[in-house]
Symmetry: C2
Subunit: 358 residues, 2 copies
């Protein structure tokens, strides 16, 4: 067995409730497969602001750097959302840790579990067989470009900026992944309007030459947002910038039935960072009804990508699949039109997955 | 009857084919209702570059300024899309005319015709009753902020920038419209990350105080892209910036069954500009299979908004509705799963609408 250090950062809102189950799954895998996973915990986001004034305390960052992988929950709080003038914000913690750890590639696999075919607003015949892997650039773009507010506060700006090397490294990762899949890559930009997108397109065109076996297409973001719903099966690997990736992957959650099902892996040159795509969902936080599957599937990604434990990762995915096949559902994936679903809260759902792991 | 000057700008690709029918509908309305519409024609986009080297020749802009309303087709050509280094691009023509004419508010109504309930990838029960009016800001944002390319060409940027007055004027238009509808307004931004969005949110919050009868909510763009598919009925009026509006309205076309059904009105302080949401679609240009209904519905918007001819506008919409009820479909809205549709090309479809107008 392997010996690894995992930092758990539950974060805000439902992050606390769901991450508990991602962690339990990792513990169970360790026990079953004879691995030694040592856990530490860190704070980030609103909870960290409340405790220390800083959305990413130095201590958390130190612990992150010292760990082999990080399991994260969610970030954000309504308090700041309704106060656009707040200087210190939970999200700054997440953006900073992404930047500090060099997590430039955010992988978001979108795939529907068979038993959720009815859970989406999209027609089953459109969804069946859809399987998309998003590569979202995560440490550049308008997220990290200079922000300005005029002295009279009447003008505000953010710089959308890309450097060639940033596009190159994420494009390469995406092309490599396409090679192991259906060998199709779609790069999404807005090159008909934006200079940063024109650079993006130039660089992707250049890198594409190194991958003649991969069929490359370029699509404008507006068209992509449309095609994703119209015909999700046309996509295999999608690579795009930070902002467009943020938008498209949330939209794509509808292909997987619910946001509550989607895990993501942020990787770069060192430690990997795993988190559900969903947010802190303060409207349902503390009610015990959040879907823990995205956190559990984040744990599966962690096992696979950071530790190279493919069997263990598959085991987790199969346990989730089995749980769904047994008819267990959290609220977000329940099918209003059948009576067969057995509705569970967060803990009962997590426990059911654990049971199926054994 | 009224006497009006209309400038027709067919533009590129299928713009030529579909705009012919928008114009014929206006001619028929003029004849039937005893109005005098005088038509002129202008060039813009790829066709204008080919003819003059300029995507928006001064002559076209002069004609636009001298007209009472403009009916536009589409813009763009694959040639430039695949060459990110091209200096002169068709889209520059469209962006320039929007800016020069002060067309800061782009209205995009999204509503499904009853007979197209099956044409969408989204389930009918999710769509039924959806009725959204988008207000997309059209002359600011990252579209018009300063663009830069470093000398070594390895860094590129666009400034995402908003001024308070720009947000104010579009917000007011959106709130006014909400008052005449279901009195709900959703403002979409990314205020948890972007300074320009924080200004946007501050200003909308301020203007909202003048409209206490309108229920206002603020939503992040990633969440909005998801909610739009998950539960389109939750939206009434949506107001957002140029880039987010571009993305969301293309995505929302799936609510109306097809991009080929959606019209838009761009208005500001003077002349109005009417165009389909769809692009030049060079893959089907010249084949006679494009859907002319978005251009025809753009003509309907023109009659209503620029000329105040509500009955005439309704007459056009009813003629489109009747045509769909008769089972006539262009390729993009045909239902693969029923044999009842009668598939028509562009001209036959347009002719059918004309017939139903009489
Ligand atoms: C919380 C927010 C800053 C974040 C983002 O926009 O990146 C989230 O939406 C995500 O997708 O991880
Ligand atoms: C052609 C392009 C510049 C344009 C835009 O992005 O505004 C189009 O997509 C639109 O929505 O009108």
């Amino acid at each position: 067995g392997v010996s690894k250090k995992i930092l758990v950062i539950p974060g805000d809102g439902i992050g606390q409730e769901v991450t508990a189950w991602g962690k339990k799954v990792l513990e169970t895998i360790a026990a079953n497969f004879n691995h030694t996973f040592t856990f530490d915990e860190g704070i980030m986001g609103h909870v960290a602001i409340e405790a220390t004034g800083d959305p990413l305390p130095a201590e958390t960052l130190d612990k992150a750097r010292a760990s082999d992988a990080i399991l994260f929950g969610a970030i954000g709080h309504a308090k700041y959302d309704n106060d656009p003038t707040a200087k210190v914000r939970p999200e700054q913690g997440l953006l900073k840790i992404r930047k500090e750890l060099g997590l430039y590639a955010n992988l978001r696999p979108i795939k529907l579990f068979d038993d959720l075919l009815q859970a989406s607003s999209i027609k089953p015949e459109i969804l069946q067989g859809a399987d998309i892997l998003f590569f979202r650039e995560l440490t550049g773009d308008v997220y990290f470009g200079e922000k300005q507010r005029s002295e009279d506060r009447a003008t505000a700006s953010d710089l959308m900026i890309y450097h060639k090397y940033e596009v190159e490294r994420i494009a390469r990762k995406a092309f490599e992944a396409a090679r192991t899949r259906r060998k199709k890559l779609c790069s999404v930009d807005k090159a008909n309007v934006l200079e940063a997108s024109r650079l993006w397109r130039e660089v992707v065109q250049e890198i594409a030459k190194e991958y003649p076996d991969v069929e490359t297409e370029h699509m404008f973001i507006d068209n992509a947002a449309m095609q994703l719903i119209k015909d999700p099966k046309r996509f295999d690997v999608v690579v795009t910038g930070n902002l467009f990736g943020d938008i498209l992957t949330d939209e794509a959650s509808q292909i997987a039935g619910s946001m509550g099902m989607l895990a993501s892996a942020s990787v770069g040159d060192r430690v990997g960072f795993y988190e559900p795509i969903h947010g802190s969902a303060h409207d349902i936080a503390g009610k015990g009804i959040a879907n823990p599957l995205a956190s559990i599937l984040s744990a599966a990604l962690l096992l696979d990508i950071s530790f190279g434990l493919k069997d263990e990762s598959q085991r987790v995915i199969r346990a989730v699949d089995a749980t769904l096949r047994q008819g267990y559902r959290t609220m977000d994936i329940a099918n209003k039109h059948t009576a067969n679903d057995m509705l569970l809260g967060t803990d009962a759902m997590g426990a059911q997955v654990l049971k199926n792991l054994n």
